[in-house]
Amino acid sequence: MSTINQSGWRPTTPEKGEASGETFTGNRALMLEEPLIFEIGSTETTGVDFGEAPSGKSRLAGLERSKTIGLPGLSEPEAVRHYTRLSRQNYAIDLGLFPLGSCTMKHNPRLNERMARLPGFADLHPLTPVDACQGAFEVIHQLAHWLVTLTGMHSVAMSPKAGAHGELCGVLAIRAALDAKGEQARKVLLVPESAHGTNPATAAFAGFTVEDIPATEAGRVNLRALKERLGPDVAGVMITNPNTCGLFEPDMREISNAVHAAGGYVYCDGANFNAIVGRVRPGDLGIDAMHINLHKTFSTPHGGGGPGSGPVVFSEALTPYAPLPFVEKQGDQFVLVEEETAGEHHASSFGRMVAFHGQMGMFTRALTYILSHGADGLRQVAEDSVLNANYILRSMEDVLDAPFAKSGPCMHEAIFSDKGLPEGFSTIDVAKGLIDEGFHPMTVYFPLVVHGAMLVEPTETESKATLDQFIGAFRSVAARARNGDPMVKTAPHFAPRRRLDETLAARKPVLVWKEPVRAEAAE
């Protein structure tokens, strides 16, 4: 007689049957619905223990807050569960390929997180006396050295808080340089049609007038049209290189020369630096200012929409106008150059853009990443990111229209259009179809110069096996869309939510939670 399996367990074969769509809870196994904290918490509950409240003199000037604030609390287990459940309704790089073109969603190394949390960085006050925070200034100085050297530029402003803030920093330096030369009349910034929306918005925010530069059939800046427009009213150009069609601008040096000859400056949007880091130095192309998204090329996490970090590298011509504060090495000491210490040496600085020193937490992460890769690894980053994008381009061009595929290789992102999709089907349907396949969609409808654009940026941190699986899914969804499969039109079917009504959200904005009006009270 056997002694195994005394528990009585028997292998079973599942009964076949149709699943009903509804459950009592609304949950579907691991797909868990989660209410709002306002629906589950109460203002009396707290998940934090304090010692006895000491008694003492109140000096609140009679301003005591008497009315309820309406902030619900949860105990710690409830809070951890609330956020953990919510987190599982998110797609993330940790779960799979995140091929958002122009966003560079690469792996975020956990060493970066650990280093940023060292108490010497994380628990350091920004106004600590400078002698007591030399290590922090050294981090900033080392990162600055890497950024300047990798880009072949003259200096770097570290304080801008994100890409668009870096753009602002760059165009303000251009304005300041022109004003210093008495060229207040130069008010026009030329921006290609394919630019990120932040470029024209930034230029306008800084008081410039924006004019479009047309693109060529091959997806590049139209050099002739650009040269014709240059003149005494033009402050400069804002160009993205590699551009938003995923192509390198081969005429960049000539563009820079023409703009400089006409008395303007060249701003380069560095959002796509990942494609060329370690292979091309923007300084060799005549750029005057370029922001670097540390949250793209240098792997600091996007966090669901920030925080970012957008240091700006400058040419020698714009360096005197760079913003305060910045860190300088004087002998063995690192000093903070701010309003009082700018002196004659930095008297032309256009001023301060943020309180304190910028995104220190992102600096420690980016420096950690850069030191991990080194100069050799960063060059490999560019090569693998470009290789991965071209692999996708050539594996897809027979099922999706690739408008620039004939003109040569792409850089780190591959672009497709909606040409060839049947009536009633569009880019959005392909994107939503990919969601059901377990992938985050590519960037859609951007850049505007390509109809129904699909911009795919795989990054270098994806394996060939992952790319092959993505290509398989992308081909399948594209083919189904071409064949008019209605399941693609109504995708996603398997996500935590079906397509959401964005029109309703905008027409009747509900931006904060309000206690629902009870039926009896309403009567």
């Binding site: 000491p54 280093m115 600590t128």
Partner: protein, 452 residues
């Protein structure tokens, strides 16, 4: 290299698929003169995790961390105890490594967090609505000034002398380029903020008055009269809060009539981080919402009628409006907003009120102790957890000397206002629940010695 999955075999196979013989074929568009033939010169090569950790740890050790010493620094960045679960939550990969929620069906986690954050912030600041966060307090403050210009179609903003000098400095920088007119002043050692002066300077060209609460010297005052004066002239009142924990104890600016309330959310959940990343707060009344900058999340339903959340009112934003957008801001500070939101959820109203009470009582006791010292004068008797002392000598060298002894005594006004000779003896001292009575005693003895 540990972050790069492709093998040499993979690379060869992929190049073959592409029809290229080697990697340089993919960089043909780069002009020859600009191509680098190897790794950038003068920079080190790749390093192991252990080696990098050694390098970074050595740098971290050169800093005087707040938790290691008696610590009294504030002036726009505050040290509070953050529950361990907050850091655990923000390190969930699904939050940490997600992008801006452009595909809402697979981003409901981030979107619901934004919606909860917007509601918490609106309630805390006393406003109808709040956005999903800005870069930080200083940039949110400037955005509020610009918004007031859009709403009132007037170009003159009056900034209180009690506004954080870095915030004033940011606004001054931006105004140089936008043509906005700013009226600024320095703080003075008076027990009350400059409310009466502000009221008297409002005129028909004024777009807004910007006032900080508690102000840079820690002072608090009812702003109802100021709000009325603004509204009488059809100007807006913008209130700036750099220490949101205070609002667990004192009335919100919204309750007192502020039209736009902005602030720095760092003190809840985010930590000091040497100044960033932080989280800018931005709230206003419902009627102004379409002029508000920044990301907004709104409630809606999906194709099956289930509640869900999306980014909304994006017709204000740059990716739709380009040069006509309300702001050029693209990123917000969502992960820091999550940290702040989770901390507020753990505290709840009861916890926040208790925390605020502990801060106030501890600060009040510390003020009494320090004011006993010869050569120390307490500037005001109306504050929350931060107050200003007027010393009998310049504060800046005193702060430096105490730092050498391992005491971070506070922020000297000389550091913040190097040009203002009349303020050089001022020392701003912040006291929170992390400050112990021994810390206060250590500071008191050292100050006594330094001022003797």
């Amino acid at each position: 290299m540990r972050y790069l999955p492709l093998t040499q075999t993979d690379r060869q196979a992929m190049l073959a698929t592409i029809g290229a013989s080697w990697i340089d074929d993919l960089f043909v568009d780069v002009p020859e003169a600009a191509r680098l033939d190897g790794p950038v010169h003068g920079l080190p090569l790749h390093a192991s995790e252990l080696a990098v950790e050694r390098h970074m740890s050595a740098l971290a050790k050169k800093n005087l961390a707040a938790g290691d010493v008696p610590f009294f620094l504030g002036a726009g960045a505050y040290r509070h105890h953050v529950p361990a679960s907050v850091d655990h939550i923000i390190q969930r990969g699904e939050f940490l490594t997600a992008y801006t929620p452009y595909q809402p069906e697979i981003a409901q986690g981030t979107l619901q967090v934004m919606f909860e954050f917007q509601t918490q912030v609106a309630r805390l600041l006393g406003c109808d609505v709040a956005n999903a966060s800005m870069y930080d307090g200083s940039t949110a403050c400037w955005e509020a000034i610009v918004m007031a210009r859009r709403v009132t179609k007037r170009g003159k903003a009056i900034l209180s002398g009690g506004l954080h000098p870095h915030y004033v400095s940011v606004a001054n920088t931006m105004a140089k380029f936008t043509g906005d007119q700013l009226v600024t002043s320095l703080p003075s050692f008076s027990p009350e903020p400059d409310t009466l002066d502000l009221i008297n300077s409002i005129d028909d060209d004024t777009s807004c008055v910007v006032v900080q609460y508690p102000d840079i010297l820690g002072r608090i005052e009812d702003m109802s009269a100021l709000a009325e004066a603004c509204h009488a002239k059809k100007a807006l009142l913008v209130a700036v809060v750099t220490e949101p924990v205070a609002l667990g104890a004192i009335k919100s600016p919204g309750e007192m009539g502020a039209d736009i309330v902005v602030g720095e959310g760092q003190s809840l959940g985010v930590g000091l981080q040497f100044g960033g990343p932080y989280v800018g707060l931005f709230a206003c009344s419902e009627k102004l919402v379409r002029q508000m900058p920044g990301r907004l999340c709104g409630e809606t339903v999906d194709a099956e009628g289930k509640r869900g959340f999306v980014l909304t009112l994006s017709t204000r934003e740059q990716h739709i409006r380009r040069e006509k957008a309300t702001s050029n801001i693209c990123t917000s500070s969502v992960l820091c907003a999550l940290a702040m939101s989770a901390h507020m959820t753990l505290l709840g109203e009861a916890g926040l009120r208790r925390l605020a009470e502990i801060n106030h009582v501890a600060a009040s006791a510390a003020a009494d102790r320090l004011a006993e010292i010869d050569g120390v004068e307490l500037v005001t008797d109306r504050f929350f957890n931060e107050f200003t002392l007027k010393l009998s000598k310049e504060a800046r060298p005193v702060v430096r000397a105490l730092a050498d002894k391992g005491i971070l005594a506070g922020v000297s006004l000389g550091r913040l206002y190097p040009e203002a000779t009349e303020l050089q003896n001022g020392l701003i001292v912040a006291v929170t629940e992390t400050t112990t009575e021994e810390d206060v005693e250590t500071l008191a003895s050292a100050l006594e010695e330094a001022l003797a």
